[in-house]
């Protein structure tokens, strides 16, 4: 066991853990940030997606030691002063979930997409989001939510 300095949601955390444990487990079990979900442990479902220096990343395949020095954003870090980001707001408006278990990963993947491509086409959304699984099958609503968020961000709302 060793100490690792993580930058999560704009704050510094000294995390005691194992170098090779996953960032997913460190976030969930050592920092109690349980919004990031375990779905498969092999980078196939996207439930564990976080932003690492702004890039959508599978936290289940990222080791704790390799996350040191990176700016990590989890679902808990999006809301500021009770104001939701346009992507969160759009998921609410479109009702783009059923059980909601995939939602944090979906929102973070979509956030990364919109920061890179402010007005994605359907094809670009599908390509970018294809690593995120929604077993309840709300994909059409998620695509609608991403378009809605893109429109809101275009009017100045901060992603």
């Amino acid at each position: 066991m060793a100490d690792f300095l993580l930058h999560v949601n704009g704050r510094e955390f000294h995390v005691r853990g194992f170098a090779d444990e996953s960032l997913l487990f460190a976030l969930r079990n050592r920092l109690n940030l349980t919004g990031t979900k375990y779905g498969c442990g092999e980078g196939q479902c996207g439930a564990c997606t976080v932003l690492l220096n702004g890039k959508a990343t599978h936290s289940c395949l990222t080791s704790l030691s390799s996350a040191v020095g990176a700016q990590i954003t989890t679902i808990e870090g999006l809301e500021r002063h009770e104001v939701l980001t346009p992507v969160q707001e759009a998921f609410l408006e479109e009702g783009a979930y059923q059980c909601g278990y995939c939602t944090p990963g979906m929102i973070l993947s979509a956030t990364a997409l919109l920061r890179e491509l402010p007005h994605p086409t359907d094809e670009q959304i599908v390509e970018h989001m294809n690593g995120n699984v929604c077993r309840c099958g709300t994909y059409p609503r998620i695509i609608a939510a991403i378009h809605r968020a893109a429109a809101a961000a275009g009017k100045g709302a901060s992603l």
């Binding site: 853990g17 194992f18 090779d20 444990e21 487990f25 969930r28 079990n29 050592r30 109690n32 940030l33 349980t34 919004g35 990031t36 979900k37 375990y38 779905g39 498969c40 442990g41 092999e42 196939q44 479902c45 439930a47 989890t74 679902i75 808990e76 999006l78 809301e79 939701l84 969160q88 707001e89 998921f91 609410l92 408006e93 009702g95 979930y97 059923q98 059980c99 909601g100 278990y101 995939c102 939602t103 944090p104 929102i107 959304i125 599908v126 390509e127 989001m129 294809n130 995120n132 699984v133 929604c134 077993r135 309840c136 099958g137 709300t138 994909y139 059409p140 609503r141 998620i142 695509i143």
Partner: protein
């Protein structure tokens, strides 16, 4: 069938354990814990009351399907029900129904669900039964509560109750313009009211809160990550547990060496016969210790996909089967028919793959056990725990936080029992979360199916005989709604090589696949349009209506845009729901089936929440794509060969066509549940569309698996 028999029939198909005696809180005591107010309890009603005392599988059945409504001094309404929220959105839709009948704002309702200490006994959340059974009960109770509130106000004002109105959480006297909020009326009171019989309910045509689109009630908690799923529960001093899995099904442990595992810091090995588990301070250490256990197992030889359908076709060695339905004389009518078809259809095992795997946190406090877990049947899981630890029901509490879905796959309490076992040994709370591989291997599967259909039809398109045999997958929606005078319909149980259980829509998906593909085969043999052939043999107005609505929106009957495009139609009925789908596919020169467009028309009586319903029907279409096109469990010698998402393909963004859902709102009819039947029409409609594009008839699900499945024909198409 009366309501009681229906429920029992449903329970049998769900392969649930029998219900145990429901224990009841003393209602006066319960009301005191809530700080007084008004508590409305549902008394025995209707057919269930008459059935009280009936026994099933050695258990006394509960005499009531219960729920409680409490109105506190702050006007807040708490609804207590043993139903659980798994993504189907009943936390919202049930609250709409209560708000409607109670005449109170929607946001004054809080649902307390799936907690065996707080809510009345409930058999479980399955079979699309919440809306048709719990819905009317809550409406009854809310209506009775409103009546009590109005009478209480009338007594205070010395007014005639019939002259008062209830609206927006208050009772008002229109003459004096006095009003009292519900909170003011219940303050300081300790009212317990039983609902005696069916009070008048607000007709759906007059609904103002029910019947309107309502977003998920606590949606904000889901987009911010605040909601705590079962796997997110944390308790003080909690340890993490793992369980050693055998190397195959029906394996026995021959030797085990835990010396190396015991050296992992903080890890402790728990051994109880063939059960070997690990607890540690953190999950990483628990995983390390588990991996360090060296165990040898003897796995007996077992069958594989290659022998699956021959095995199923043999039928059960222990259970006899009888026809579900028989009329006329099938052999004679078949012999006299102009067009005779004799075909079989197969369906592979598939996995529910809920994104949140089984999870539980167990905590012992003396001899009292509390378990937070994801289950569709918290009271059945409580019974499992009582049995496992020889405890009376009152010493076990199961709490079900809204979970990461189930689709029929979380009826059982494996993780709960494991966590409780480890927690007992460790003397501290323990969390167990199954890995995806464990979920793919040690949960249960949707039953595989072998289905034979023999039909006889006259040259004019009139159906004469229909023989239908389902081996193994079940009897749900096994009957045909088409008019056929001579029928023999039978479900044959088989000795399933894999552990199987309920799955969203049960066997209705397999039975509709066989029936609706076969219907199009008959139409083709006769040279008739497959929609017209169906309508010619169909009088049920509700099923006709969804076929016509789907065809209208799809513009059925127009010519195909390109040679490689095909159209298909299918429809059916189950659990009070009527559904029809029209599908357009494109089959590329590389033989890839691309879904282009789906129109699904749907009718389930009066719609409670159009937004939630649309989401359910759309989601069912998407989920159906998996079983139709590519999902299949591959197994051999007691092992699952593809227990990972990398090898078991589920529908993704790139698989989704344009999907339009057409809802028919029948406000004149009771609401039925919509969680399942949306799944059943898609696969046969896709098969029929592929035939229209290519002339190739696909009779096996999945229709375009990523790799060959032993025992199935090699895949002719990709997806």
């Amino acid at each position: 069938m009366n309501a009681f028999d229906e429920l029992m029939n449903e329970a049998r198909q769900q392969q649930t354990d029998p219900p145990a005696r429901g224990f009841r809180l003393d209602r006066r005591e319960f009301l005191k814990t809530l700080g007084g107010g008004l508590l409305v309890c549902l008394g025995p009603v209707g057919e269930f009351a008459q059935e009280s005392g009936r026994r099933w599988q050695e258990h006394e059945l509960p005499t009531e399907l219960s729920a409680w409504i409490h109105i506190g001094a702050d006007g807040q309404v708490k609804v207590f029900t043993g139903k659980v929220e798994v993504g189907q959105n009943i936390r919202t839709s049930l609250a709409q129904l209560v708000a409607e009948e109670l005449r109170t704002p929607f946001d004054s309702i809080a649902m307390v669900m799936g907690d065996t200490d707080l809510t009345p006994w409930d058999m479980g959340t399955f079979g699309s039964r919440t809306t048709p059974t719990m819905g009317p009960q809550l409406r009854n109770m809310a209506s009775a509560a409103r009546d009590v509130l109005v009478k209480t106000a009338a007594a205070r004002w010395n007014a005639e109750a019939s002259t008062l109105t209830a609206a927006d959480g208050k009772v008002t006297n229109p003459h004096t313009r006095e009003s009292l909020t519900y909170g003011e009326l219940t303050r300081g009171e300790e009212l317990v009211e039983n609902v005696p019989n069916d009070p008048p309910l607000t007709p759906a045509a007059d609904w103002k809160i029910a019947g309107t689109p309502m977003r998920k009630v606590n949606g904000r908690d889901f987009v911010t990550g605040k909601h705590r799923y079962p796997s997110d529960i944390v308790r003080p001093e909690m340890l993490f547990g793992k369980v050693l899995r055998p190397q195959g099904f029906h394996a026995s442990l021959t030797s085990v060496d835990t010396a190396e595992a015991e050296k992992v810091p903080t890890a402790k090995i728990v051994r109880d016969g063939d059960f070997i588990g690990v607890v540690a301070d953190d999950l990483h250490s628990a995983e390390q210790a588990l991996a360090a256990i060296h165990a040898n197992w003897t796995v007996p030889p077992q069958s594989s996909n290659a022998e699956l359908f021959a095995t199923l076709k043999k039928g059960s060695t222990s259970e006899e089967s009888r026809p579900e339905f028989a009329s006329g004389s099938v052999p004679q009518a078949y012999a006299a028919s102009d067009v005779k078809l004799d075909q079989h259809y197969t369906v592979q095992y598939i996995a529910h793959t809920p994104l949140e795997p089984r999870a539980a946190v167990a905590e012992w406090s003396g001899d009292k056990l509390t378990v937070w877990t994801g289950t569709q049947r918290p009271f059945a899981v409580r019974d499992e725990l009582c049995e496992a630890f020889h405890l009376p029901a009152k010493q076990v509490r199961v709490i079900q936080p809204d979970m990461g879905s189930g689709y029929g796959g979380k009826h059982t309490g494996e993780a709960a029992v494991e966590a409780a076992r480890l927690a007992k040994a460790a003397g501290k709370p323990v969390k167990v979360i199954w890995t995806r591989e464990e979920e793919f291997t040690w949960a249960y599967f949707r039953p595989a199916a072998y289905i034979e259909v023999r039909s006889g039809t006259r040259r004019d398109g009139t159906m004469a005989s229909w023989e239908f045999h389902n081996y193994n997958s079940g009897s749900a929606a096994i009957q045909t709604l088409y008019n056929v005078p001579n029928q023999l319909i039978q479900f044959h149980s088989s000795d399933s090589p894999l552990r199987q259980g309920s799955y969203r829509s049960l066997a209705a998906a397999a039975n509709h696949f066989a029936r609706e593909v076969h219907m199009s085969e008959i139409a083709f043999a006769l040279g008739l349009d497959s929609l017209q052939f169906r309508l010619k043999n169909l009088t049920d107005p509700r099923l006709r209506a969804v076929f016509e609505a789907a065809a209208d929106k799809f513009r059925w009957g127009r010519s195909r845009p390109e040679e490689e495009h095909g159209f298909g139609v299918a429809g059916g009925f189950d659990k009070g729901d009527y559904v029809a789908a029209c599908v357009e596919v494109e089959v590329t020169p590389e033989k890839k089936i691309k879904l282009v467009r789906v129109v699904e028309a749907w009718e389930c009586g009066a719609i409670v929440n159009p937004d939630g319903l649309r989401n359910q029907v759309m989601g069912a279409c998407v989920q159906a794509i998996g079983g139709a096109m590519f999902e299949a469990i591959q197994f051999k010698d007691g092992r699952i060969l593809n227990p990972h998402l990398a090898e078991y393909r589920v529908p993704r963004f790139s698989d989704i066509p344009e999907i339009e859902v057409v809802l028919i709102d029948r406000k004149d009819l009771p609401s039925s549940g919509a969680g399942e039947t949306g799944l059943v029409a898609l696969a046969p409609a896709i098969s029929n569309a592929v035939f229209s594009a290519t002339g190739v008839r696909l009779r096996s699900m999945p229709m375009a698996p990523p790799r060959a499945i032993p025992g199935d024909e090699p895949p002719r198409f990709q997806s």
